[in-house]
Amino acid sequence: MDPDIIVDVIGETCPVPLVEMRKAVLKAEKGKVIEVKGTHPASKQEIPMAVDSLGLKLLKTEESDGIWHIYIRR
């Protein structure tokens, strides 16, 4: 999946991944795909919660080598 925007929060802990994800969502145009990639386990669970609250579409979540990738459609 080719994202339009990549939010790299590898190594960051709560609440930074959520804050950066929100920032990207607010800037992105409707229909754009945002990839958030990080390592903090709680954020991996919190970001889908936020996607739901914002009424956005969660496209895919995957993880490899301790790095998770969350794809969201604005």
């Binding site: 609440p15 709680a42 669970q45 936020a50």
Partner: protein
Amino acid sequence: MQDRIYMDNSATSQPDPQVVKAMLPYFIEQYAVASSQFSHTPGIQAREGLDQAREIITKKLNAEQESVIFTSGGTESNNLALKGTAWAHQGKKNHLVISKIVHNSVLHSAQWLEKQGFDITYIDVDEQGFIDPDHIREAITNQTILVSVQHANHEVGTIQPVQEIARICQDADTLFHIDACRSFTMLDLNLQTLPADLVSITGHLIHGPKGVGALYIRPGTKIQKWQHGGYHEFDKRAGTENVAGIVGFGKSVELAQQKHVDYIRGLQKQLMDGLIQEIKGTVINGPLDPDKRHPGNVNVSFSRVEGESVVLHLDMKGISVITGSACFSRSLEPSYVMMAMGFSHERAHGSIRFTLSRFNQESEIGRVIRSCNDVVESLRKISPLQ
């Protein structure tokens, strides 16, 4: 996305449309500098707008003529109250008394004065944020210039016993300053019966504009002018007056009514009761007695969750509130108010402040409680805190 619910009215409030309407002519037609009766007509008209606002505010405080000067807001009023009185007494007295939970504009002014050689006594508060007036009495010496207390606290809403503290200061011949930025028009503030010498107030917390406040100075109070230039504001504060802002401030005071306070207190009770009943592990921060709490303030801590996560998730559900958590503050420290109240770091980190106004609807309360419940429940499932 549903309509946004704004419950951060202790940070700033929504300007009343009538306030904005009252201000507009002073941007478009009556934009002249407020001038004396010997000046041109537009200047005189601007002066009339300014004088009328001063009269409304003076009347609301039941204060003396020419005792209210306009400033750029509560922060400037607090700075002037502390620094102005300290410098006016320099060389004769050198001591000030403040509580530990005053607003930063008082706290940092006092800390700055400390660096200039003044002595400051910081008064403790109890676990609900109350000052013991006896502690003020014990702290006052023959060197004390001023005692400064916040009428209603900005974070937890604690209403201080200002009447009793005022009497103590009066008996000790010490100036008494009240930061009433959160309480003005919400709580009784009658300067004929309350012997305060200085009172700070601001417009934007009562549905007026930002960038305008005022300082009441009891006639005869020695205060050093801090901002130099012209002879504005009875020669106590130089600078061209923000006429449009001042007119808006006056209008916001004129619009304030007791029925709004009663309405807000009703919302406060519904929200506080609902959060306690619906969400296990919720504790109230600040006074438990509603009569001793600012009518618009609800501050709670949810156990096992971080405040900033709650705030972010509520924001994404369209609800604006804030937290006393460290990550949320620009200082990266947990709320100094809550630390002074003896709270644990966990309780301060989990604190959420909801501050209500007359523009909040009863229907919003249920949605806020449900959203808090959803967010807290979800966050607890992934919380490392046990």
